[in-house]
């Protein structure tokens, strides 16, 4: 598993990619275009499967992430099928596009499910929405999104939106809002165009942060004081214990001494008592 963007510096640019595809596919590469930063390669339908295989297996291309596959209505000429591929190692994106043979009546294209697992459901969806049949697909039926007995191909342009056909659009027709007499309302830009209550907001955010900081400082101060108190208490305790120990030792010594004295002069003490 190559790392993500590990080969970005060696990624092919659009011209090189097209040259590489052309080298293998020859005439089946019909052309290419870079639109809004996305590189699209147009293919003849015969080269569709082979192009996908190359895109995945050619080490310089290595398009491993299967992004999506879908149909686009191409008016009288039928339908286009578009596949979007992405390479995690080079960071490149490749869009393959082909016009499906068979026109609007019987569109058929070869399936790329053998190459990308993700193509399975995407092709089923394209079949469901446009009626494009994919040869070699494990099972386009039952229809994936619509109900099983649904008639028609919803995303074809000749399939009319029923609600729109029945009654006109209830909202304002044109985005430039019209009043009741049909005059364009000129909106005076208000809140959105102004810089907003920014300084105040920033101050309040700073305050919130200061409160958090203050809390932290106070907590640390409390903890430090508590630690100090604990240390002092421990010290006091230790002193007390030492004192107690010293007293005990002294007492023991005294007792020992007294005992020794008692052994030496039992008589004299008796005399003293008597006196």
């Amino acid at each position: 598993m190559a790392g993500v963007l590990a080969r970005r510096d060696r990624a092919l640019n659009p011209e090189e990619t097209e040259a590489l595809l052309r080298e293998h596919l020859g005439e089946q590469v019909l052309g290419s275009v870079v639109e809004f930063g996305t590189f699209t390669c147009k293919l003849a339908p015969e080269g569709w499967v082979e192009a996908a295989r190359l895109a995945r297996d050619e080490p310089q291309l290595a398009y491993d992430l299967f992004d999506s596959l879908f149909g686009v209505d191409a008016r009288e000429e039928g339908f286009d099928v578009v596949a979007v591929l992405y390479s995690t190692s080079t960071g490149n994106r490749l869009v393959l596009r082909t016009r499906v043979p068979g026109g609007r009546d019987a569109p058929r294209l070869a399936s790329i499910t053998e190459i990308y697992r993700g193509a399975d459901w995407m092709e089923r969806e394209t079949y469901d929405m446009f009626g494009v049949v994919f040869d070699g697909h494990p099972g386009l039926e039952p229809r994936i999104l619509t109900v099983e007995n649904f008639e028609g191909w919803p995303l074809r342009k000749d399939f009319h939106l029923a609600s729109r056909a029945a009654k006109p659009w209830p909202g304002v027709k044109e985005p430039a809002e019209l009043d009741e007499d049909g005059n364009v309302i000129e909106r005076v830009p208000e809140i959105g165009d102004a810089p907003g209550p920014y300084e105040l907001d920033k101050a309040m955010a700073a305050q919130a942060k200061a409160v958090i900081e203050q809390e932290r400082v106070e907590r640390e101060e409390r903890e430090r004081k508590a630690a100090e108190r604990a240390a002092k208490a421990a010290e006091r305790q230790a002193r007390k214990e030492a004192k107690a120990r010293a007293a005990a030792e002294a007492a023991a010594a005294k007792a020992a001494a007294a005992e020794a004295d008692a052994d030496q002069q039992p008589a004299s003490s008796d005399e003293e008592d008597g006196a």
């Binding site: 996305t38 364009v184 810089p195 955010a205 919130a208």
Partner: protein
């Protein structure tokens, strides 16, 4: 007759998650016929109106077939009847847990086609709200996944945080699910007074509470027993299916649009990505939790960067995208969201393809479930994070 030692193999005292070798012993009296089990639509284990048909041999799944489309609402068709500025109200409904991210994608792709400069402040605010939206989404899954495995408490914890964040976003956008806060060229309105202070407070609060989830769920022995080693997804298979987001990151692929193809101002902030090792249910959930933590990390950075200035641009009376097609992908909470917008130069899109993360992620479920035991299927269904509306559109 079989002796006791072989019989023990039928009911082995193994820990959950361990490989259990179910064997037919003796003269084959234990052989079972295949059974078809249909779970859903609308079953507690399936996250909404999603149906999955399992072919079973005993407790073992031999094949799984998800049946989708119960919530198909035809957004792609509807979008062809709407102005470029109106689509956002449609797209924030397909993945209802990440409305803001969806409309952000559409705004970005239209702006790309119009070659429009968006003010800096708008871009930073978009990032801020998008990250809060991500936290909201992930908290929902933290709660629901644990709930499916039988733990009720995390759901309450998650909703405690979710509600506070909902109020925050409601203050700015006026919406709780369908924000409709973006517009082509910027945002509808500037942030309200006091929003940033509340955002700062809430970010800190959530970060303080986050360890609870790590301890309560990830550290839970029962949770680990139900998820560790269950449903591993190898990286090559994941990529071939087009699986993205936390599910792909759990397989060890650090693919995240915010890092690899930065949009907005993501190249100016630090975006960490947590990676799993085995790609199993446990890793998928861990990636989800870490994404919350890192989103909050990004939110903290945005607080420090947010510049002053306008938040939108004046639009012409008629917005017409030039002829051609553009593709924009963004990192949605559940994975990579892509919009292919094709225009014929008219007032409405010629084609808007929504490449939704849930659709691709759910496609990998049959692969994951094959050969698995039924109780483990719940763990897999819950951890390949998806929203049904996002599958069916």
């Amino acid at each position: 007759m079989s002796d006791l030692s072989t019989r023990e193999k039928i009911h082995p005292g193994t820990a959950p998650g361990e490989d259990i070798a179910l064997e037919i012993v003796g003269d084959g009296d234990f052989a079972t016929t295949d059974m078809t089990l249909s779970i859903g639509p609308a079953h507690p284990a399936t996250h909404g109106v999603f149906r999955i048909v399992l072919e079973l041999n005993g407790e073992r799944i031999t094949a799984a077939r998800p049946v989708i489309g119960y919530m198909h609402r035809g957004f792609e068709k509807l979008a062809e009847y709407r102005d470029f500025r109106q689509i956002k109200a449609l797209v924030n409904r397909h993945d209802w847990l990440s409305g803001f991210s969806n409309e952000l994608g559409v705004a970005l792709v239209v702006e790309k086609m119009l070659e429009m400069e968006v003010p800096d402040r708008a871009q930073w605010i978009r990032m801020l709200i998008a990250e809060w939206n991500r936290v909201l989404n992930h908290l929902m899954f933290v709660g629901s996944f644990a709930l499916e495995l039988g733990a009720i408490t995390p759901m309450f914890y998650a909703f405690r945080e979710r509600d506070e964040i909902q109020y925050l976003l409601e203050a700015a956008t006026g919406g709780r699910l369908h924000f409709t806060y973006n517009q082509v060229g910027g945002l509808k309105l500037d942030l309200p007074k006091g929003f940033l202070a509340e955002s700062v407070r809430l970010s800190k609060l959530t970060q303080e509470r986050l360890p609870d989830y790590f301890d309560l769920v990830l550290g839970n022995e029962i949770f680990q027993a139900r998820t560790v080693g269950v449903g591993p997804l190898p990286p090559e298979v994941a990529l071939s299916f087009g699986v993205t987001g936390p599910t792909l990151q759990a397989a060890g692929v650090p693919e995240d649009s915010r890092v690899t193809e930065p949009y907005l101002k993501y190249d100016e902030v630090d975006v960490p990505v947590h990676l799993g090792e085995n790609g199993d249910s446990f890793d998928r959930f861990a990636c989800l939790l870490y994404r919350i933590q890192y989103s909050l990390h990004i939110i903290d950075q945005i607080h420090d960067h947010l510049p002053a200035g306008p938040v939108n641009t004046k639009l012409p009376k008629m917005v017409k995208a030039p002829e051609g097609a553009a593709y924009q992908r963004i990192e949605n909470p559940l994975g990579q969201l892509g919009y292919w917008l094709e225009s014929d130069g008219g007032r409405t899109p010629w084609r808007l393809k929504m490449r939704t993360p849930s659709f691709s992620n759910v496609q990998s479920i049959p692969y994951l479930l094959e050969g698995m035991l039924v109780p483990d299927a719940i763990s897999v269904l819950g951890s390949v994070f998806f929203v049904v509306g996002d599958i069916d559109r």
